[in-house]
Symmetry: C2
Amino acid sequence: MKILVQKFGGTSVGTLERIENAARKVIKAVESGYRVVVVSSAMAGETDALIETAHRISEFPNEREMDVLLSTGEQKAVALFAMTLRKMGYPAISLCGWQVPIVTDDVHTKARIRKIGTQRIRNLLEEGYIPVVAGFQGVTETWEITTLGRGGSDTTAVALAAALRADCEIYTDVPGVFTADPRIVPNAKKVPHISYEEMIELASLGAKVMQIRSVEFAAKYGVRIHVRSSFSDEDGTWILPEEEVMEKVVVRGVTVETKESRITVVRVPDRPGIAAKIFKALGDAHIVVDMIVQNVSHEGYTDMSFTVSKTDAPKAEEIVRKVAQEIGAKEVVRDDRVAKVSIVGLGMRSSYGTAGMMFDVLAKNGINIMAISTSEIKISCLIDEKYAELAVRELHEAFIEEGEEIKVEDEKGKGS
Amino acid sequence: MKILVQKFGGTSVGTLERIENAARKVIKAVESGYRVVVVSSAMAGETDALIETAHRISEFPNEREMDVLLSTGEQKAVALFAMTLRKMGYPAISLCGWQVPIVTDDVHTKARIRKIGTQRIRNLLEEGYIPVVAGFQGVTETWEITTLGRGGSDTTAVALAAALRADCEIYTDVPGVFTADPRIVPNAKKVPHISYEEMIELASLGAKVMQIRSVEFAAKYGVRIHVRSSFSDEDGTWILPEEEVMEKVVVRGVTVETKESRITVVRVPDRPGIAAKIFKALGDAHIVVDMIVQNVSHEGYTDMSFTVSKTDAPKAEEIVRKVAQEIGAKEVVRDDRVAKVSIVGLGMRSSYGTAGMMFDVLAKNGINIMAISTSEIKISCLIDEKYAELAVRELHEAFIEEGEEIKVEDEKGKGS
């Protein structure tokens, strides 16, 4: 039994006409020999409307009830989807999270999947039915409704594909993953294949094609994902185990993130425990810190910079200001006008000089680098926000458009 | 543990403000010492909107999916209701039909309750929670979502009250049951107490305060129901076992029904099996026949009249026309301009002359009676539609406004 999980996002089921369009994709797969399991998000706008209603009742609506409320969005969508397939002559059966069941922990509004019962779906598939599963929702061991957090329908789809040993198609409103944001870089190209690791780095940087957690899930279970547009028949981007990615290029994509602020603590006494003091205070306030840079110390003092999301920045500044006083730092400076440009690619691991080339491209364009952070497959530079788009365009030109010649051929880990 | 089931209809939870108003009723009951179980309908308009959406997909949407779709209405309402109670400082927990569970048969869109699990609700009550149960919905033994048909939330409430041996308050948008439609009879009075039997006869005749099936259910299990307005604190109408109804009057109420048509088969050969032939044909077409009148025969022929709902009338006429040809009847006449006026009251059973008085009132006002049907506690007359309101007003005046003196005192079956 060749099983395919097809997931449709909110815009792909945003109207009855679009549901019909999505149903046609399902039928096409069925007619080409697949047993198809559909996963659907709520119709576009539905979840936001429900959240807004809840917030009219209370600033902090009860989270258990929030899940009961929000899960109605997907439930409605799968009923309409199944009705549509039936009208088109294909026997479909909708399933809520608790009917599958998709069993989760009991952390309401951001539950994690613990296990998936596949027997009912397998039975339905064998009897020739098309199960239409509500994304985003699950049920606890004690029969409480849970939801998986924003974008959780992707996780539902990937988890189902893993449980059923199926491939997974994610239908969305973009044609796939691009080498850069096409609004900034008109020459950006669609990437035909990308590894989980590259996708995770790109996703967290803003190329929001798929929910990051679902890609991690896919990586863990080796689920092959095809992200594609529900408004065309073109191939999109395959997200695959590293060894299956066809061309290994040094740089897969260039991204930019402007939603962060930089906070610098100036002239910090360079003593053990100082950094811990600052970041513990931020952690206690549930503030997520991204880049952290500490320069070498001069005469027992150092400067320490870090970035946080712009929304957290005022609070972070306030907290750090207090700590700065305690530890005797000179001052705290906040800069909201920063951007983080990054290049991501598996090939970096086996290629030298990439960082140098990146700094060179920025320097040539008169762009000062405020901070640098690197991972195995990513290099990020913090720069002045006003150069953000220029930097992305220049890096894209250097690494992607002209960079074909530096493709690496010596990939490791080929095969399984 | 003194338990009270409070059910709120669609208009009573039609907006967030109204849900808050309903929550205040719950809190009042809690503060006065009750353990309260709330049952909520979908917010007014919600179910109709969902039905309309489904019908945009298909004229006959799959009924299983229809139930999945419609049940989201109540699910949304109970989540918002529970959130509201929590915001007001009272611990509430919403429960879908499958979470209670309210187990039904598998007749989608009009399922019947088979059993109710009360353990979870009892546990919640003992722990001090207010369970807020989604009305209208249930679950089959095989975990399929079902709905109980229009007005099914009343049935949920009454069934829960029966299972929990609790009293039941039905909050709606009218202050109670009246002796006649106040729009027709300005002198109509609210009835403080009414028996199940009277209520059933009144409900089926158009005094649509509560779903008829739920009153039958209440009668079966002896559930005491208080129907009242959610927009005032006034007492409404208690629907009670006959022996608990305080004043036994001859006529409890006067109703009129104008949604029926009369069909007459003229000059039917008076032979055994002829009536069966006509009504079997109608039954096969799922047409419900209400009044049936056959006059005494003359020279081997008789006229046969019956009423059906106006919507079924054209189809019924067509069917009967065919049968009429077969059996050699002279002709078939359809009259859409008829009204059925009825008087209802337990006292009729032990009082004589009520029918005669009714016919007299109609005759005095020049109203011709086309057909008569009677039950133990009801007399109905079919009349020309144009006299409908006049008839109701005159009957109300004769039996209710001036009729105090003919109250019956010799009631039977007093006590239990």
